[in-house]
Amino acid sequence: MSFLLILEQTLNGLQFGVMLFLIAAGLTLVLGIMNLVNLAHGSLYMVGAFVCAWVSVETDSFLLGLAAALPATALVASVVELLVVRRLYSRDHLDQVLATFGLILFFNEATKMIWGARPLRLDPPDFLSGTVELLPGAPYPAFRLAVILVGLAVALGLFLLVTRTRLGMLIRAGASNREMVSALGVDIDRLYTVVFALGAALTALAGAMAGPIYSVEIGMGESVLIPVFVVIVIGGIGSIRGAFVAALLVGLTFVWGRAFLPGLFGLVLEPSTASTLGSAISAMAIYILMAAVLIWRPRGLFPPHG
C-alpha cells in the first residue's frame, strides 16, 4: 500500500467527517440550545434534498434548487415548530422521542405521496461536475471539495453566530435562564422558532449538498440519523466545537476502517474471509469508537459547561 493511497484515504475520511458535521450542525444547535431530542431531524434533511432535487430538475439549475430548499425547509420547520415542537421543549426527552418519531412516519409518507416512491435525480452543477488533481494521480471530485468548503464555512459561521452576535448571546442566555431573558423583554417563543428554523435551513443545506453524492430517496433521513447522533454524543451534547472534532474522528474511523482493515486481516486470513470479517468490524468501528469515548469520558470529548 503506497503512502499516496494512505494520504488519499485520510483526505476521504476528513471529507466524510465534514459531511457528517454539516448534517449534524442543525441538530446540535437545536439539541444544545432548546434541549430538544429531534428524531425528525432526518426528515428535514430529506425534505431539503427532495425540494432541491425537484426544483433542480424543473429549472435545470442546482443553485436554484439549493436556493429554494433552504427557505422551503425552514418554512416547513416553522410550521412544525408552531404546531408541535413548541409544546415539547418543557417535556422530558422521552415525550420528545415519541412525538418526533410520529413526525418521521408522517414526513416519510407525505413525501412519498407528493413525489412518488421512486428515488429522485439530483446532479451537481456543471461547474462542479469535474475532478481536481489534488494529489498526483488521484483526481478528486470537485463537488466533494465544495462540500468541504461549505462545511468549514458553516462551522466557522456557527461559531461566530453563537459567540459574537446578539442572537447568539440571547440563545446562550435563553439556554441557561429562560425567565431572565424573557424578563429582558425578549420574546423567547419567537427566538426558539427562529433557532429551530435556522437549524432546519442548515439541515436542508446538508440534504441539498448530500443529494448529488448520495441518493435522494424516502428513508434517507433515518439512515443518517444514527451516525449523526453518534457524532453529537462523542463531541459532547451542545458543543459545536465538539461536534466538529467528533465528526472528523468518526469520518476518519469510518474510512480508515474500510480502507485498511480487510487488508490487515488479509495478512493472516484467506482473502474472502478477511474481506467479510474486515468489513463486519469496520461497520462496527464507529460504535466501538463511541463506546470507548464514553467509557473514558462519560460526557463526551467537550462537555459544555454547567
Binding site: 408541535v84 426527552h93 415519541l98 412516519l105 408522517f106 453518534v230 460504535y287 464514553l294 462519560p298 463526551g300
Partner: protein
C-alpha cells in the same frame, strides 16, 4: 395517602381488566370465527413482555435504554441457533467442547434468558458509567455492534435469517398448537408482571426509585447506585431475552431485524405510549400500538400518515401516555375534585 392507595388499586384494576380480556379472548374469538387473531394477540403479549422488562429500567430506574433489541434478539437467536444445530448442523463445537443443539424449550428458554441476562450485565457494566442522552446512545452503540455482527455472519444466515422448522418442545404443552402457545405467552407475561410488582414493592425497587429521583441522597444513605442500576439492567435484559425466545417461536424465524434499532425504538414507544412506571402500561401500550398499526394498515397503504399524527397527539394531550388518559377518564367519571 388513602387517595394514593385508592388510585394505585384503581390502576391495578384496569390492568386486571385488560388481563381478563386477554384471558377470555380465545373463547370469544372461537365464538366469532376469529381464530386468526390469536397470532396477532400473541405478538401483542410478547411485545408487552419485552416492554415490561424495559419498563423496569425505564420507568422505575429512569434509565432510557435504546439497545434492548440486543437482548430481544439474543434470546431469539439462542433458541434458533440451538434448533438449527439440532436439525441440521450437528453439535456446536466451542473451545473443543461438543454441545448438542436442542429443540427442547425447557433447556433453550432458560438458556436464552441466561445469555441475554449476561449480555445485559456486560453491556450495563460499561454503559452505566454514563447517564441521560449519553446512556441512550451508548446502549444503542452496543446493540448496533451486535446487529452488524449478525448481519455479516454467514454461518447463521446473516441478513437472510434462520428458519426454525418447528416450534420448540415444551412437554407436556404442545407449542405447535396456537392456543397453547398463546396461553404460554399470557402465563409468562402474568408471571413477569407479578414478579415485577413484587420487585417494585421490595426494598430493591424502593432503592431504584429513590436513585431515579435523587441519586445523591441514596448514595448518602449508603446505597451504591451503580450496583442497584446494574442489577436492574441485567434483570431487564434477561426478561427481554425471554420475550425474544417467544418471538422466535411465534414467527418460527429469526433475523437481524430482531436486533435492529427500530425495534429498540418500538419497545420504547410502547412503554411511553402505555405510561411509564405503570405496571400494566406496557400491555396497554403494546395493545394500542399493534392494534392501531393493524387497523390503519387494513384501511390504507398510507397508514403511517395517520399513525404519526396520532402518536404526536397522544404525547401532546395525554400526559403519562394512555395510562394517564385512563386515570383522567376515571377521575372525570368519579367526579371527585382531587389531583
Amino acid at each position: 395517602m388513602a387517595d394514593g392507595l385508592g388510585r394505585r388499586l384503581g390502576g391495578h384494576a384496569d390492568g386486571l381488566l385488560l388481563g381478563l380480556a386477554f384471558l377470555a379472548w380465545p373463547a370469544v374469538a372461537a365464538g366469532f370465527g376469529l381464530e386468526w387473531t390469536l397470532d396477532l394477540a400473541a405478538r401483542i403479549l410478547i411485545y408487552a413482555l419485552a416492554a415490561s422488562a424495559l419498563n423496569l429500567v425505564l420507568g422505575y430506574a429512569g434509565l432510557v435504554s435504546f439497545g434492548h433489541a440486543a437482548f430481544f434478539g439474543a434470546g431469539a437467536y439462542v433458541v434458533a441457533i440451538l434448533a438449527y444445530h439440532d436439525f441440521l448442523l450437528g453439535p456446536i463445537v466451542l473451545f473443543g467442547l461438543e454441545i448438542p443443539g436442542t429443540g427442547n424449550a425447557w433447556i433453550a428458554f432458560p438458556l436464552a434468558v441466561l445469555v441475554a441476562g449476561l449480555l445485559a450485565l456486560a453491556i450495563g457494566a460499561l454503559c452505566l458509567r454514563t447517564s441521560g442522552l449519553y446512556f441512550i446512545m451508548i446502549t444503542l452503540a452496543f446493540a448496533q455492534m451486535i446487529y452488524y455482527l449478525f448481519i455479516s455472519l454467514p454461518d447463521y444466515g446473516g441478513e437472510d435469517g434462520l428458519s426454525l422448522f418447528a416450534r420448540s418442545e415444551l412437554r407436556p404443552l404442545d407449542l405447535g398448537d396456537d392456543l397453547a402457545f398463546y396461553y404460554l405467552c399470557l402465563g409468562l407475561l402474568a408471571l413477569v408482571l407479578a414478579g415485577k410488582a413484587a420487585v417494585v414493592r421490595s426494598r430493591f425497587g424502593w432503592a431504584l426509585m429513590g436513585i431515579r429521583d435523587n441519586e445523591r441522597r441514596m448514595t448518602a444513605l449508603g446505597l451504591p447506585p451503580y450496583r442497584y442500576k446494574l442489577a436492574a439492567f441485567a434483570l431487564s435484559g434477561a426478561v427481554t431475552g425471554l420475550a425474544g425466545a417467544l418471538i422466535a417461536n411465534l414467527t418460527e424465524f429469526v433475523s437481524p431485524a430482531f436486533l435492529s434499532w427500530p425495534l429498540s425504538g418500538e419497545l420504547l414507544i410502547i412503554v411511553i405510549l402505555g405510561g411509564m412506571g405503570r405496571l400494566y402500561g406496557p400491555l396497554l401500550g403494546a395493545t394500542a400500538f399493534l392494534l392501531l398499526e393493524f387497523w390503519l394498515k387494513e384501511w390504507t397503504e398510507h397508514w403511517q400518515l395517520a399513525l404519526g399524527p396520532i402518536l404526536v397527539l397522544i404525547v401532546l394531550y395525554a400526559r403519562g401516555g394512555l395510562g394517564g388518559l385512563v386515570d383522567l377518564l376515571r377521575r372525570g367519571r368519579e367526579g371527585s375534585g382531587h389531583g
